[in-house]
Symmetry: C2
Subunit: 875 residues, 2 copies
């Protein structure tokens, strides 16, 4: 017989934490805590399979559920010594959802269930507090009627407000027991008036109603939307927990609270949380009363006067602290805990792994590894690679320990990392170019508004909490440290000095607006990345072509360039003219003349890159986009180009028409240009080779050039173009290089065996490979991809996360066929998927040699590669 | 030691017909004939390997070649009793190329080699005809100087003309031996003047010079271009034949001629050819004298007076006829033969399988099968499927025997098949719409010129060989039968009657302008296609959607519709308006309203198709192209549509802009439209189902509908759309159908296993599959495909012949994965490759169930499918 109901409490449980899929997160952890001997109010969990069965069978329950639940209730009664529905000694329960994945606030909860006109009197007698009992009953009616019966809680709020007006009350606490008795009658009448039936008095009816409502809430609109947004399948279902009530609102020795075993914002190893004396959980949330701190230190730090729990309830606090340590040690991670104190006795209502900021995640992982609670590998697994993006960017000087360089006023909260700039105009222009900047000023004035808008954070040497900088930053929600008096800003030299150190324009700093700290580097980041680098087997390269980007990527740990897009160089103003001249030339001679003007410029471009990359390999892709992309499109542009080149507008437009394509993505581009206009690739190869020699003359070392031919669909294309490149190399003389190809067309993947005969490496261009494999234009997909994701046709945007089933299959085919012919062929990926953790794991599993991604994604890729290596260990 | 030289003659030979790759076609067949005991002038063949070696080794010959050639010459001397270079008894030879594949006229030939100032006297003595000897010598000088030495033959023509002018001669025959002697001196002087060296007198030098020239001609421009056009690899090389000269110009008992063992134009089983008495081969070609017929019957048929060979040389003719029979029986195919009669003795200079018209090929194959010379399968293999296209189209009434319906004057030669029309305007408009038409008029006038231009052939009831129709048709090169007096043309009723039969507009007739016959049907075609149908295992379907095309395809033997493109129906004027209304509607309700107007029209479209197709399956593809294709593009069109629909031009243009796509091929089309706008596919499904019921009510039989979803890339798309179709089917009720999909994206091929779970059939859309596999837009490829073919990157246009290595690999993958999940899944191909014989063979080898092609390609596909079955028999 299927077990539909799992019991917990009294030092043992049917389930444990490994059974999250069946019992939900809450139920599994309650069971685990009960087994650990921690004080958990006894209860039962109706499994997620009940939910699935309920929906599969037209909203009916399995036949055995009822008897199993009765049996479970009996056990709760035994453990609590109370009886469900008893007038003298009533057992009250909570009914709460609890799915496999946390869905905070999405589903329904009912507290105080079991109260009715009779049991409320029992509770009054038992607690010795009639007002408490009546308050609990009216809360129950409100919540149950709202959640289960569909009477909006405004109905009850209105009745309450009117009664308070009539009586001249302001606060709820002014209401007497008689007032509550009267209001309870009014509440019940309101239910009857609205629904035509009475509020249920039988606790069993109440219980089934609540269970129905919680299972039903799995399919409410909020829950459906939340699941869609968070990729949670509806088929998982939710469990339902029915648990004995404990009361934090039974007087001054009772309390309720929430806590984290560490600070979820900074990761600091301090207990963190808040509690309220004589309150139920909902009061903490409601925000009517200000919660108190948990620890004395926290109270002092925040300058609060209300006593901390450590001070107010030292004995219970000591038990709670011991529980924190026990739970963190048991779960080996920071815990998020709900607790209630009922007349001096501690009860735990929930524990779960706590959510945290990226910065906290890093710190907690490193701290726990350093204290021996975790291995370094486990620590590496604890940081979500994508959170590095949220953390903005790691520091340039990745080897520095956490390094506070200045302290000021915590003028506007939040943390940010970026490059230092000293001038608002520059802040704005760098920000537009994609940089993250920290604006550092002696003080700000209204003329700095545009720079402050552009900046990730603001630091001033002068000014208090009400200075211009502080006020404006808070208004913008931008982190700000003001009045950092030790720093000496030197606008002329674009630097500031502090305690003998110099921070120059472009240096990376972190600003913590909540603490007033400014620091360079993060020891946690350095540690995690260092461990990751030891573990990972995939190399990480970057897609970059400007010296600035190349330098950034190297600073972020890039081990090579995986994709240098040479056409980006042609778009710059000083050479676009020559390139257009080439396009507009009427014959090969004219093209060669124009190309000869571009040659020295490209040579310098490549030399600059080689100088930065030193002995790291550089994969340089020859011209890829169709020529029409380089021609002017608007009338004004056409006229400008016409007057600049002396070519008539009509001729320009004719050439543009001539080059127009129906499907440029599938058109005359990539190596097809190299076949049609060999002189273009020959010029580019020459620029590469001459740059190599130039840099070798300077440094004594030959730069490592890997020349990449794009859009190959057959071996013959590569063979012809490679031969041409070899001709140029022989002509230049004394260079070292290899030639390889992008695999970005399905046919290239299928013919990888032939192609590998001529290719030293394959770089999977997964952007275009995705477009052609799906027959899906990235530029046009926006019109229907939302429909596709909504209907579950695509789980993820295949341009963000690699489609392993389709595109990945082709990569596997290409790998096998390529390696069969050339076992040492180097394999990498240079589409945007190179910076996506799921795709990186796929690349690791496929045994590729490297991934290549944009500079700011390099740390993400390093971490994701390490996680992939750990997750896929064969032992 | 490699054998570089192969001898033949005197009843034996070193080689045989199987050695064409080594000896070339000419050399192999000369060897074969020699071994058969036929009279072949003895000779030797320098193999094609000599040619390859020559080019591989910087234009030098293998060391052993010289001695082997000397040995071969010695044997020729023995067999002829003449001596090469002998003054008294000179052996003369011809030097001719002979490659594996026939390359008529592309390479060089030298005749009469061995003559010089001394041997010419020996030849004169030996032949007793000094003038003949001198004539041969001057011919030799001209030919050798032109071919080998590079002195243009105009030089010699000019000298000859000037001499004739000086002497007052008109004809060459007026020149005396002395004249020739004088001219020979002038010729030799001209060579010396132009080249600074003498015409070679040593026969051995002459021989090597000629051999050099013939091998050299393998790489002349003509030969290179010819090979490129005919897909002949340069690596094959050519052989060179050195053969004893025989002379057809040694008087009235000598002759030369060419013959076919059957009529190469009609295929009739009559000897066919022409000959000239006292002439060399080149005279026949030069056309100075009119050749005589071979047979008496031919002479009588053509009304010639000059005696036929049968009459002029009965004994030699009898030997020749016996040789024809022997060669045809030996080679089991119609032969094309060159012969020379030297003083009453027959010599054979060449035999090869003769080229023939498509009609002749069919007739010869059928006749030889019926006479037991070939099996039916061999006969089927003898007809090139693509030649059916050249033959134009088979007759509508494919079961009719060859059926002469009229005779007239053979006014302009050539044969054609087409639909009868009676009016020049209609001939022109039908022709523009792709029809082949035969213009039938009582007589033509200058007002008919446009119709005559458009027509495949012209038939008139009145008029002679110099009538308007006859003169104009001959000028145009269009076949014409004039004065077909028995036919009675009735313009009013658009028909003609002849001998009690009625031929209506649109009926198919064949016109043979060479014989003056007009007939309907071809028994040979029927026979071959019948045999092909018995043999083939692939089904043949058609791509068609108009009732006219569907009817044509059925008449041509289509066994089903493989692709009915429903969007073609939307483009017709009466529904384009509604469809645009749907596109322009702002919401689903508006779209549904517009679609409801299209529904009855589509229902009628489908009903019309079902009526014609009867119990044949119809695969109907739901809407495929992007919506913007249906919107007006030009300003004028936009304004027309605006005024017709009441929608403003600005709104129209906005919607068009909104729908614009960068790469429409990869855009919002196919099933993606079905996902975004389910109402469109639902309307189409409803139209199909309602049409089925309509036709079932009429005929009592349920039409077989196969609904095809285009552009699927994942199983989920198909699952969702199939469910929607099932919903419509349930709503309509009582219909039978299956749902399947196009496989036209690489991802669909890769995910064929998943997709097969929902698909009753796969139809490979190889047009789009080729585009996406290559990343190659068909519309844009024209700019560089020529470069690609020229550089050998692509052997064939992959849109014409399926790329078996890439696209074919995906088809194989899809087949395996699809059949693994659904073993009985039906597989077909509906791209244009479905009508290409090489692609059809691929489909056969892959074990597909059917191919589908345009109506006029159905017979080609039937024949190609049979040939594929024969060629790929495992036993």
């Amino acid at each position: 017989m299927t077990q539909w109901v799992y019991a917990f409490g009294g030092g043992s449980a049917d389930g444990d934490t490994s059974m999250k899929n069946l019992l939900g997160g809450k139920g599994a952890n309650l069971a685990e805590m009960a087994s650990l001997g921690l004080p958990v109010p006894p209860g039962v969990t109706l499994t997620a399979e009940v939910c699935t069965s309920y929906y599969d069978n037209n909203n009916t329950y399995p036949a055995e559920l009822k008897s199993q639940l009765v049996q479970g209730l009996t056990q709760i009664e035994k453990l609590t010594g109370k009886v469900f529905g008893s007038v003298d000694n009533p057992l009250l329960v909570s009914v709460r959802s609890g799915a496999r994945a946390s869905m905070p606030g999405m589903m329904d909860t009912v507290l105080n269930l079991g109260l009715n006109d009779e049991t409320v009197e029992g509770l009054a007698k038992l607690s010795g507090d009639r007002r408490f009992a009546l308050d609990s009953y009216r809360r129950f009616i409100t919540m149950y009627a709202d959640v289960v019966m569909g009477v909006h809680h405004h109905t009850f709020d209105d009745i309450l407000e009117q009664h308070k007006d009539n009586q001249g009350y302001v606060l709820d606490t002014e209401l007497s027991a008689d007032d509550w008795t009267k209001l309870i009658e009014l509440y019940k009448e309101a239910v009857h008036d609205e629904l035509g039936r009475d509020f249920p008095q039988d606790p069993k009816d109440q219980l089934w109603g609540a269970i129905d409502a919680v299972f039903g809430s799995w399919m409410n609109d909020r829950a459906i939307i939340y699941r869609r947004l968070n990729d949670i399948p509806a088929a998982w279902g939710t469990a339902v927990n029915v648990q004995a009530m404990v009361f934090g609102n039974m007087g001054e020795t009772s309390a309720t609270g929430v806590a984290f075993t560490r600070d979820p914002s900074t990761g600091a190893n301090n207990y963190y949380g808040e509690f309220l004396i004589n309150a139920q959980g909902e009061d903490v949330v409601a925000g009517i009363r200000t919660p108190q701190t948990l620890t004395k230190i926290a109270r002092e730090e925040m300058g609060e006067t209300a006593p901390s729990m450590e001070e107010a309830m030292p004995e219970v606090y000591a038990k709670l602290a011991a529980t924190f340590d026990k739970l963190e040690a048991h779960y080996r991670d920071m815990q998020d805990i709900e607790f209630t104190v009922e007349e001096g006795k501690l009860w735990l209502l929930q524990t779960r792994t706590g959510k945290r900021t990226a910065r906290a995640a890093m710190k907690i992982a490193v701290d726990m590894a350093r204290s021996g609670q975790l291995t370094q590998e486990e620590a590496v697994m604890r940081v979500d690679p994508m959170s590095l993006d949220q953390l903005l960017h790691p520091t340039l000087d990745a080897n520095a320990p956490r390094d506070i360089i200045a302290m000021g006023l915590p003028a506007s909260p939040g943390a940010a990392i970026g490059e230092v700039v000293f001038n608002s105009d520059e802040a704005e222009s760098l920000s537009k170019a994609g940089h993250k900047v920290i604006l550092v000023r002696i003080e700000t004035s209204p003329e700095d508004i545009h720079g402050m808008h552009a900046a990730e954070a603001i630091v001033t040497a002068r000014g208090g909490m009400t200075s211009h900088a502080a006020v404006v930053a808070r208004g913008m929600g931008t982190p700000c440290v003001s009045g950092a008096g030790e720093i000496r800003v030197n606008y002329e030299e674009q630097k500031f000095t502090v305690m003998g150190r110099e921070i120059k324009k472009g240096d990376i700093v972190t600003v913590d607006g909540a603490t007033g700290q400014v620091f360079a580097g993060s020891g946690d980041f350095t540690a995690i990345m260092g461990w990751a680098d030891e573990i990972r087997t995939l190399s990480v390269r970057t897609n970059a072509e400007t010296p600035a980007d190349v330098q950034t990527a190297v600073d972020f740990g890039a081990e090579g360039i995986g994709l240098c897009r040479t056409e980006h160089m042609f778009f710059e103003a000083d050479r676009l003219g020559y390139f257009r001249e080439m396009i507009l030339a009427s014959d090969k001679k004219g093209r060669e003349e124009a190309l000869s003007k571009i040659l020295p410029v490209q040579r310098n471009d490549f030399a600059a890159i080689f100088r930065i990359m030193e002995d790291r390999p550089c994969t340089i892709r020859l011209l890829d986009p169709p020529l029409h992309e380089f021609l002017p499109h608007t009338e004004a542009d056409i006229e400008n180009v016409a007057s600049a080149t002396g070519i008539s507008t009509s001729e320009l437009m004719a050439r543009a028409r001539d080059l127009h394509e129906s499907n440029p993505m599938l058109g005359h581009r990539g190596c097809r240009l190299g076949i049609s206009y060999p002189e273009i690739y020959e010029m580019q190869a020459r620029a590469i080779f001459e740059a190599q020699k130039l840099v070798k003359d300077e440094t004594g070392k030959m730069p490592i050039a890997e020349i990449m031919i794009p859009l190959v669909s057959s071996a013959k294309e590569l063979e012809i173009l490679k031969k041409a490149i070899e001709g140029v190399a022989a002509d230049v003389g004394g260079v070292e290089y290899v030639v390889g190809t992008m695999i970005e067309l399905p046919r290239a993947a299928l013919r990888a065996g032939d192609i590998a005969q001529h290719a030293a490496f394959f770089s999977f261009g997964t952007n275009d490979l995705t477009q052609t494999t799906f027959g899906l234009s990235r530029d046009d997909a926006g019109k229907f991809l939302p429909d596709y994701v909504a209907q579950g046709i695509m789980e993820k945007d295949p341009f963000v996360t690699l489609d392993q089933e389709g595109v990945g299959d082709l990569i596997g085919i290409a790998k096998e066929r390529g390696r069969a012919v050339r076992p040492d062929i180097k394999l990498g990926i240079c589409g945007e998927h190179g910076g996506d953790p799921a795709s990186i794991e796929f690349c690791h599993k496929q045994g590729l040699d490297y991934v290549s991604c944009s500079p700011y994604r390099v740390p993400i890729a390093r971490l994701a590669a390490a996680q992939a290596a750990i997750s896929n260990r064969s032992n």
